[in-house]
């Protein structure tokens, strides 16, 4: 049948809505499974954050509200570190913006894969976008050679991580100081390990990865020289500037 855009009736999109329920459930389960190794990294951090928050005088409910509404670990660690009674509003909100401005770039990279979604589908889904969910979903779409994100997969990953983050930060706040020093068990390497495997998946040779090297050097330098959380934003932007310059060099 020949259809022109002006005559187009709303045909259900096979990849978006027409996917059978079992297919959706399978995709969501695949996402949930993919989130399990990452959870291993989430749980110890969540407990530590909870314990630190309890020491700063935040109640279990207040911390659960923070991790449930904000759901961005880096900024929550920063906020708890800077917490006073009463808290300093501008300092904490400003630091949150600084730590999380990488999300703007991440959302921009994800946008082409979400173009098929309605705004009322995309905006709630983006509430759950954290580093790991974003990277896993993007890597999954690229590995399948797809131009669209698998939304059930994305929500499977995100749902697993969200639930474990909120539950275990609250647990950490409840059991508080009894947790002790988790650093001695080496859990802080879990995130680095996850990110390194994701980077391996994106590797396209030394030449193509020169912007990464720029990001690494600038971020590490900023971490050593500057207070606060400037290193993520500066490193990411420096790498992209390098990418632009290298592209212009090719053209």
């Amino acid at each position: 049948m020949h259809t022109s855009p002006s005559l187009a009736v709303p045909v259900p999109d096979p990849a978006a809505d027409g996917m059978p329920q079992t297919g959706k459930a399978r995709e969501a389960l695949r996402g949930l499974t993919a989130s399990l190794p990452v959870m291993l990294g989430f749980v110890p951090f969540a407990l530590v954050l909870g314990a630190q928050a309890a020491q700063k005088g935040l109640s279990v409910a207040e911390l659960a509200l923070m991790t449930g509404l904000n759901f961005a670990g880096g900024s929550e660690f920063a906020a708890v570190r800077l917490w006073t009674s009463p808290p300093h509003l501008l300092l904490i909100v400003g630091m949150t913006l600084l730590v999380n401005c990488r999300h703007i770039l991440m959302g921009a990279a994800l946008a082409p894969y979400m173009r098929h979604l309605k705004r009322r589908q995309a905006l709630p889904a983006l509430f759950l976008m954290c580093d790991e969910t974003w990277a896993l979903a993007l890597a999954d779409a690229r590995a399948r050679g797809a131009t669209r994100l698998s939304m059930p997969y994305y929500l499977g990953v995100a749902g697993g991580l969200y639930a474990s983050w909120v539950a275990f930060t609250a647990l950490g706040a409840a059991i508080g100081p009894r947790i002790g020093d988790l650093e001695q068990f080496g859990f802080e390497m879990a995130f680095t390990a996850v990110f390194l495997v994701l980077l391996r998946g994106m590797w396209k040779g030394v030449r193509a990865s020169r912007p990464w090297l720029v990001s690494l050097v600038v971020s590490a330098g900023a971490y050593l020289l500057l207070p606060g959380a400037w290193h993520v934003a500066l490193g990411a932007v420096a790498g992209l500037v390098a990418a632009v310059l290298l592209e212009e060099g090719h053209a």
Binding site: L89, V93, R102, L123, V194, V197, S209
Partner: protein
């Protein structure tokens, strides 16, 4: 009575800070999508955007590469090696175990 007022103000401020913090974070999450959803990027811009994931991820973990503790640097080297040949779960196990053990032995 004064104590009650003070603690009420404190918890209201706490609530306000948490809500504003969450709003700021949510805005960063939707901004990139809202700016780019209806735009077609030039091939050159697309090539640049290809680098976003790698540059963001490596900037987040960069501090591990300049740790002042030799045990952590050695553990990182082992984790990098594992990441180049193993899948996610074994790499995470090896990274955590190496960091924990080397921290004990060398720390």
């Amino acid at each position: 009575m004064l104590d009650l007022t003070t603690s009420l103000t404190t918890s209201l401020t706490t609530l306000l800070v948490i809500v504003l913090m969450a709003t700021a974070t949510y805005l960063t999450r939707i901004m990139g999508f809202l700016l780019l959803r209806n735009r077609t990027l030039s091939p050159r811009m697309l090539a640049v955007m290809e680098n976003v994931p790698g540059c963001v991820l490596i900037s987040v973990i960069a501090p591990a590469f300049v740790s002042d503790q030799p045990a952590k640097l050695l553990a990182l080297a082992i984790t990098v090696l594992a990441a180049t040949r193993l899948s996610l779960l074994p790499t995470v196990f090896i990274g955590v175990a190496a960091t924990g053990l080397l921290g004990r032995l060398m720390g």
